[in-house]
Structures are given as C-alpha cells and as structure tokens.
C-alpha cells in the first residue's frame, strides 16, 4: 500500500481512499452533521464568515456565491459545535475546500473530524501548541539534514516559525502546485504527520540552490518562501526529493519530546465536547 499511495491514488477513488485511510468510519454518526449545522449561532461564526471568501478565491466553486461556499460555511459551522475547544482556526478552510473538491459535504465534515482527531490534534487547538513544537523539530531536522542552509537561515533570523505554520496548518495547499498537493495528501493519510517534515525538507531541497545563490538576506528569503515558483515543486521533483530523505519516526518522536519539554505547560491533552459527550484525547501526533 505504501508503494501504491506514493505513486498517487487514482482520481476516481481518491476521496474514498482518504476517508478509508483516515478511519472516518470510526467517527461517522448518522444525522449528526445536519443537527450540528443547524444549531444556534456561535460568536466564532463571524470569523468563519470573514474567511469564506478568502479560502479559495482563485477557485470557481469557492468564489462569491459559488456553490462551494455554502458547503464550506456549513462544515466549518458544524465543526465549531462538534469540537468547541478547537472551534475554528484559520487554515481549516483550506483543508475543507480541498476535501470538497473530492467528495460531498457530509463526507467532508467527517473527514475533517478524522483528520483533526487522528492526525492533527494539537495543531488547531488554542495557542497552536503543536505548530510551535513542530517548528522547533523542523529546525533541528534542518540542521541535521542541510547544515549549510540551516546556518544561512539562522544567520538571517529566518526561524521555521515564520514559514512552518502556513505549510503545515494548510497541509501544503498554500505552497505547492495543485498536482503536488494531491500527491502529498495521498501519502499523508497513509503515513501521517511524519510526512509534514519530509515534505518540508523536500521543499527546501528543491529550492536550496536558488536560495543560497539568490537570497542573501532576510527579506529575500522570506519573500521567496512566501511564493515559491511552482516549477521548482512539481510532483516529480518534490516527491522524488521527499522519498530520498531518510527520516525515522523514532527521530521525530525523540525530537518531539525534546521540543515539547521546552514547551512545557502547553499540554496537548484537553477536554473536548463533540456535542454529545466529553472525552479526553491524548497526544496522537505521531500516528
């Protein structure tokens, strides 16, 4: 299966395959989506509404009055009720839009639930604890993987906290060309968040020569990372680079521990409400 997902899932079954790998069946309950969607307005709805137009402004379905906007809004509203701790966080709209391009609204809602529960627990929680930990881990990994580039970034004050949130929280939908995004998602649902680091390092592998020769200082580096030319990150170039990188789950786990200790006081464990019951979820970052 690992080989197959790495080759890319066929378009016709992609949505189903993501749902299957994410374990959507463990979460899906009949009629829950409709009920949550129709519940009373929460204050966070105002924030969601401000972002609806701004999730996929380039995509015809998600432009003003496009039929995707209503689905997008409904799913994010329902999720805010489903998990009142996470509520809504910018970036989630990018995930939902991507899912809606592959499957209907109710399926999308449950895939969002499974994606956050199974893979991205601490990512959208208040104060974004996991993103800060991941930025530290990424820094450590980059120093091992490409000391020259890591040192250049460090000298110029380009900390991963300045670019990792956008890459990880949107599951790479704001940095990669579309064909690469789909391939990354195919592998993500099989391999989990370990892939975030692999792809992050691969993006820098594909661009390091350009950065080292054309981006001497902070401004140039940050502007470049903000809009990397897509021709440098085609599926062939990116995935080839990504799968060459040797990255052990245990290494990330070790670094995660180290980074989390530094981040002490910001626990990933939290009490959450899914509309029906309270439950305590643990740190499932390394799934």
């Amino acid at each position: 299966i690992k080989k197959l997902v790495r080759l890319g899932i066929p378009e016709s079954v992609r949505g189903k395959a993501w749902q299957f790998m994410a374990g959507v069946h463990k979460y899906r309950k009949k009629d829950v989506f409709d009920k949550l969607r129709d519940k009373e307005k929460l204050p966070i709805y105002d924030d969601i509404e401000k972002d609806i137009d701004r999730c996929y402004p380039d995509h015809i379905h998600f432009r003003e009055k496009g039929f995707g906007q209503e689905d997008l809004f409904n799913i994010l509203k329902a999720y805010a009720h489903y998990d009142t701790v996470v509520g809504y966080c910018q970036g989630m709209g990018r995930l939902v839009g991507m899912m809606l391009m592959q499957m209907p609204a109710e399926d999308t809602f449950w895939l969002l639930v499974a994606t956050i529960e199974e893979y991205m627990g601490g990512y959208f929680a208040p104060d974004l604890p996991q993103i800060k930990v991941d930025s530290r881990i990424f820094d450590l990994l980059l120093f091992e993987h490409d000391p020259k580039l890591a040192q250049h970034f460090k000298n110029e004050g380009v900390d991963p906290i300045l670019y990792i949130p956008k890459w990880f929280l949107t599951l790479f939908t704001m940095v990669l060309p579309w064909a690469s995004v789909l391939r990354v998602w195919d592998v993500f649902y099989f391999e989990g968040v370990k892939l975030f680091f692999r792809i992050g390092l691969a993006i820098l592998d594909c661009t390091r020569d350009y950065i080292l020769s054309h981006c001497p200082s902070t401004s140039e580096i940050l502007e470049f990372l903000g809009s990397i030319p897509h021709e440098l990150l085609t599926p062939d170039l990116l995935l080839d680079a990504a799968f060459k990188i040797k990255l052990k789950r245990s290494t990330i786990k070790r670094m995660n521990k180290k980074a989390t200790e530094k981040n002490s006081g910001e626990s990933d464990k939290k009490l959450k409400i899914d509309g029906i019951e309270f439950k305590l979820i643990g740190d499932n970052v390394n799934k």
Partner: protein
C-alpha cells in the same frame, strides 16, 4: 483583527494592486519596499503582514522581533474591530521596544481606520474627535482614514510612520555619532501590522 484589510493595504502600498481575491493570511506574510527617502538615504522597508486571527495571538512575539514601527488596522464597517485595537497596542507595547541604541521605549504606532470608501455610519461609529482623543491617550503617533480600494491615505500613512522612525534614528545619530539605521547608508525598516506589521530596522 481578522479581515480588516491588512493584506490589501500592503499589496496596495507595495505593488499598487487592488483585488478582492486575497487569501486569509496564515501566520505571517512578507513584503519589501525600497524608498529613496532623501538624496543620501535609502530605506528598505520590510513589512510583516500578521494574521489577524486570535489563535495566532501568542505567536506575535516571533513576528514583532526587531520591529521599529507598526500599523494597527481596524475596519470602520465593523465597529467591534475597534475593540481589538487596544488589545493589539498593548500586545505590541509588551513584546517589542525600540533598540537599545535608540534608548528603548515603545515603537511608533499608527492607527488605520480602513475601508472608509464604504462610507459606513452605524450607531457605534467613532467620531473623528473620539478617535483622535483615543490615539492621544493611548500613545498612537497618529491615525488615518484609509481605503486600499481607492488608494486613500495608504502612502501618506506609511510615509508618516517611516518619517517618525527616521526622526528617532536621526535624533540618536546626532547624539551618538552613528545611527542605528544609517550606519550602512541603507536603512532596513521592518514594519509589522496586525494589521500591517510595519517595520524593523537593522
């Protein structure tokens, strides 16, 4: 706060572009503008466009690093975004100060009342006098009514903020015989914004 028009202001200022199609800012975006400030001073204005969503609130200390000026933006059509202004101002005051070479102290902050092209008048709309008084009491250097759509006062507000920063730099230049900014004949000013994060220097 979120959706007040920070990105639109920066795109207008840096690229003279106006579009309704900007994406929400996740984390922080960057832009740079180079200004020939005077015959012998070049200013490299580095602008950090900070996400307005409160979830990113505790990341601001990373984004404010070395900033020497800031624009805080609120949306005149949603008067509750004005409540966010004090929150952002005190966040800035807590987390960033002018460099030691300049004697520290708060960075200059300019308030932008954005989307004034929409001519919105509501029961909670602040009068000009109220905003001026608020700015005076809360340590804002100045405020402007802006519109990224009509390109109103964007250039003026940025120019004013840069002039404030350059003024502080020159004052210290005279005192110490070298400027924090001008020692390289080239000033990089990083501006931040919650709203637009303006400017830092190095």
């Amino acid at each position: 706060d979120l959706g007040t028009g920070k990105t639109s202001i920066i795109k207008r200022y840096v690229h003279n572009l106006s579009s309704m199609n900007y994406k929400s800012t996740i984390g922080v975006d960057f832009a740079q503008k180079i200004l020939q400030w005077s015959p012998d001073t070049l200013v490299r204005l580095q602008m950090w466009d900070i996400a307005g969503h409160e979830k990113f609130g505790n990341m601001t200390r990373f984004y404010y690093k070395e900033a020497v000026g800031a624009l805080i933006v609120y949306d005149v059509t949603r008067s509750y975004t004005f409540e966010g202004v004090s929150k952002w101002k005190s966040d800035l005051d807590q987390k960033v100060t002018l460099p030691e070479a300049w004697g520290g102290g708060p960075i200059p902050v300019v308030l932008l009342a954005n989307k004034c092209d929409l001519n919105h008048e509501g029961p909670n709309t602040k009068s000009d006098a109220e905003i001026s008084q608020y700015c005076e009491e809360n340590g804002f250097a100045k405020w402007f009514k802006t519109s990224a759509v009509n390109n109103k006062n964007i250039e003026e507000a940025a120019r004013f903020l840069v002039s404030e920063i350059v003024k502080i730099d020159q004052k210290n230049d005279r005192k110490e015989n070298h400027g924090y900014l001008t020692n390289r004949n080239d000033e990089t000013i990083k501006i931040g914004s919650e709203k637009e994060k303006p400017s830092r220097c190095c």
